[in-house]
């Protein structure tokens, strides 16, 4: 579609019918005139028209307009020069042109009977892209618009600040290993630009053109402050995200390491335990083999345990003892004892004071001597207290069952 439009646009100013255009093209190709001529004549017309139109522009263009015809000849001259230089390439060009012509002819033959619309459609779909590279015309166009004269001597007089254009020393294409490698490609572009920037700075400083922006020079920037703020925010976010991820990784590693430590500790503990058990077994064996065989089983065990305790350095001495001989112990303290008595502590309370077979069989408080002395019972009958006090020197009164038991427990 674009092609069509371009064609139409191309034909409109020339104001020729389609077929005419084709034949015209052919004629121009066959004749030896450079193809530049027609459009240049056209441009001359334009310029003249422009001269009439605006004074300012005419000032600018005047020299161009005035010199144009001579320029034209210049172009022709240069063309001929180049032709002499590149006679081989010129031959190739001719060949190409012939090819193009033949293609055009074939197209014409085929498409003559069709509707113009159909024709265009077909042309759009089946058109083979031709190699058009009219170097002469391109160079002429370049000469027409170039700011800096193409002559090297004259170009040297133009200050750099005038155009600010630089060409790098190396083609970037060669530097880029693969066009799909984004990083390498962008780096190549950046390096090329940097080279130019360095060169340009020197050139500009030499010409006395201000280059560096002073720090106190504030002006509107290309990108607004909000945008830059957003960019900064984004960068900060990225940085914090990076930091957080690093921290998380560190934590993870630590966790992993902590686990290792824990496992190690557990292993150590297990090892210790195993070692202790082994020691115990060994000691047991020793005991069995040694003179302890004559002792009773229970007694032997007790003895053994004490020995083990000694062996282990008395670590669990107290605990071991308590576990074994709780009943044989005396009461913990007086207060506790009292409380135990008052509120009760284990065992059966009822009939605790009543006599039974044992108590009646207990003759510990009985003395035959007192019985033989006599009067003891009478005294006792009068007042227990006085009797007790009277007989305190000689003998203790017999205590009750409960007391007696308690006394026995106290040892």
């Amino acid at each position: 579609m674009a092609k069509k439009g371009a064609k139409l646009a191309a034909k409109a100013p020339i104001a020729k019918s389609q077929s005419d255009g084709v034949t015209d093209k052919k004629n121009r190709r066959k004749s030896n005139d450079p193809p530049v001529e027609a459009p240049i004549a056209e441009t001359n017309e334009d310029e003249e028209w422009e001269d009439e139109d605006s004074e300012e522009d005419s000032d600018l263009e005047e020299e161009g307009g005035g010199v144009d015809f001579s320029k034209l000849e210049d172009i022709n001259d240069s063309d001929s020069d180049s032709e002499i230089n590149n006679s081989d390439s010129e031959n190739e060009d001719n060949d190409e042109e012939e090819e193009e012509e033949s293609e055009i002819d074939v197209d014409d033959l085929n498409l003559d009977d069709m509707d113009p619309e159909e024709k265009e459609e077909l042309a759009a779909t089946t058109r083979v892209r031709q190699t058009i590279n009219n170097k002469d015309a391109l160079l002429a166009a370049l000469k027409r618009i170039s700011l800096v004269p193409t002559d090297i001597k004259k170009a040297a007089l133009v200050p750099f600040a005038y155009h600010m254009t630089l060409v790098t020393s190396k083609p970037t294409q060669e530097v880029i290993p693969s066009i799909d490698d984004d990083l390498e490609r962008e780096l190549a572009f950046l390096n090329a630009a940097r080279e130019s920037a360095l060169k340009a700075r020197n050139l500009l400083k030499k010409e006395g053109v201000p280059f560096t922006r002073p720090t106190d020079y504030f002006a509107e920037t290309l990108r607004s402050d909000e945008t830059m703020e957003a960019v900064k925010q984004k960068m900060i976010e990225a940085a914090t995200a990076k930091k957080a991820s690093a921290e998380a990784r560190k934590q993870r590693d630590l966790k992993k390491f902590g686990k290792q430590v824990q496992v190690q500790k557990q292993q150590e503990r297990a090892k210790e335990k195993r070692a202790t058990l082994e020691k115990i077994n060994e000691l047991k064996k020793k005991r069995k083999d040694g003179g302890s065989a004559s002792l009773g089983a229970r007694e032997a065990d007790d003895m053994f345990d004490v020995a083990v305790d000694n062996e282990l350095g008395g670590g669990n001495k107290a605990g071991g003892k308590r576990g074994r001989s709780g009943g044989d112990h005396g009461p913990p303290n007086a207060k506790r004892q009292k409380k135990n008595e008052k509120y009760g502590f284990g065992g059966k309370k009822r009939f605790g004071k009543s006599g039974d077979a044992i108590s009646s069989g207990d003759m510990s408080g009985f003395s035959a001597k007192r019985m033989k002395n006599g009067g003891g019972a009478g005294d006792g009958k009068k007042t227990t207290f006085s009797a007790m006090s009277a007989k305190a020197k000689g003998s203790k009164p017999r205590l009750g069952k409960d007391k007696r038991k308690g006394g026995a427990g106290r040892r």
């Binding site: 439009g5 020299e63 166009a141 618009i145 005038y162 090329a192 920037a197 945008t227």
Partner: protein, 321 residues
């Protein structure tokens, strides 16, 4: 006072310049005053990205004139009149097609040439999130790849780029300092355009590779009595980014014969069609298979439930009919 001084200075300098110009004219130097104005506009049907790119470029060019969307894709020569109306001698026209493809026309009005590009990989300043920034309207350094000098069509493109993207000296609204570079590189038959901020940083003594490079330049600057030794240049990208594939060059402004055509350019329509075709081929193959199956069945007479019959004269039915 300042204003008076300024105006006086201006007139005097102008007079000087005129003298110089006349001198140059008489001496045949032929350096024209660099006066460029660029009309920047798009067709209808541009996407938001195209529009943002256009805005970015318009912001970068103080000598640009942004206009409303142009409502035609076939009569582009009308743009010449439009440019004339706005006193512009360059036109940068964004032509969007199918709401996705962007073609950029760079034209020198009124005498041409016109270059048509296909723009790809567009990334606007905003979406790129680069750190770089520069003064609005400062003059860029235009850094062209060495390849631009090798071919005539690339030379033409370079010249047109210089007119379009280079801010002429003394443009209104332009800033007096140079703080960005525009890079134009040719790779893979395409032109890659980048925009970098120049940041001058205190030079570190660690990098020896640059030191040597810098050594030569600093010597030069010493001769000039300037101190560029202390600072090094680092570039930070600003954006936008885009890639242009040249398609054609016309001799006139939106008209005239085509003087260059890129054979390597493949239309995005064609690319898409190929993609579709490759997808369609599967369907076609399946269709063919079913048709073949049907044909085979018909040939065997299985279609109507009766077997294929040989109607020769020796058939029993024929004989004893």
């Amino acid at each position: 006072m300042a204003a008076v001084y300024k105006s006086l200075a201006k007139t005097s300098s102008k007079a000087d310049k005129m003298d110089i110009d006349e001198d140059s004219k008489s001496s045949g130097n032929g350096v024209r005053k660099n006066k460029q104005r660029v009309l920047i506009l798009s067709s209808r049907g541009v996407t938001h990205r195209h529009r943002h790119l256009l805005n970015d470029l318009a912001a970068m060019l103080p000598h640009g004139r942004k206009d409303v969307k142009f409502d035609s894709k076939s009569n582009l020569y009308q743009l010449n009149e439009l440019a004339e109306l706005y006193n512009c001698n360059n036109v940068m026209f964004f032509e969007a097609r199918k709401g996705k493809d962007l073609y950029m026309w760079f034209s020198k009005v009124p005498n041409g040439p016109t270059i048509k590009f296909h723009a790809q990989n567009l990334h606007t300043m905003e979406e790129l999130h680069f750190q770089g920034n520069c003064l609005k309207g400062s003059r860029p350094i235009l850094s062209f790849d060495a390849t631009f000098e090798t071919e005539p069509h690339l030379q033409v493109i370079k010249e047109v780029f210089t007119h379009m993207f280079g801010v002429p000296e003394g443009t209104r609204k332009s800033k007096p300092f140079v703080d960005h570079v525009m890079g134009f590189s040719v790779a893979d038959g395409k032109i890659w355009i980048r925009n970098y901020e120049i940041r001058e940083v205190a030079k570190t003594k660690g990098d020896d590779g640059d030191e040597e490079e810098e050594g030569a330049t600093s010597k030069k600057s010493k001769k000039g009595g300037l101190d560029s030794k202390e600072t090094d240049i680092s570039l930070i990208e600003i954006g936008p980014r885009f890639v242009l594939t040249p398609i054609i060059i016309q001799e006139g402004a939106f008209g005239g014969p085509i003087i260059y055509e890129n054979k390597r350019f493949i239309s995005p329509n064609h690319v898409r069609a190929e993609l579709r075709k490759s997808k369609a081929s599967r369907h076609v193959a399946r269709q063919e298979q079913t048709r073949d199956n049907l044909a085979r069945k018909r040939k065997l007479g299985l279609e109507n439930g009766e077997a294929f019959k040989d109607k020769s004269g020796l058939d029993t039915r024929e004989l004893f009919a």
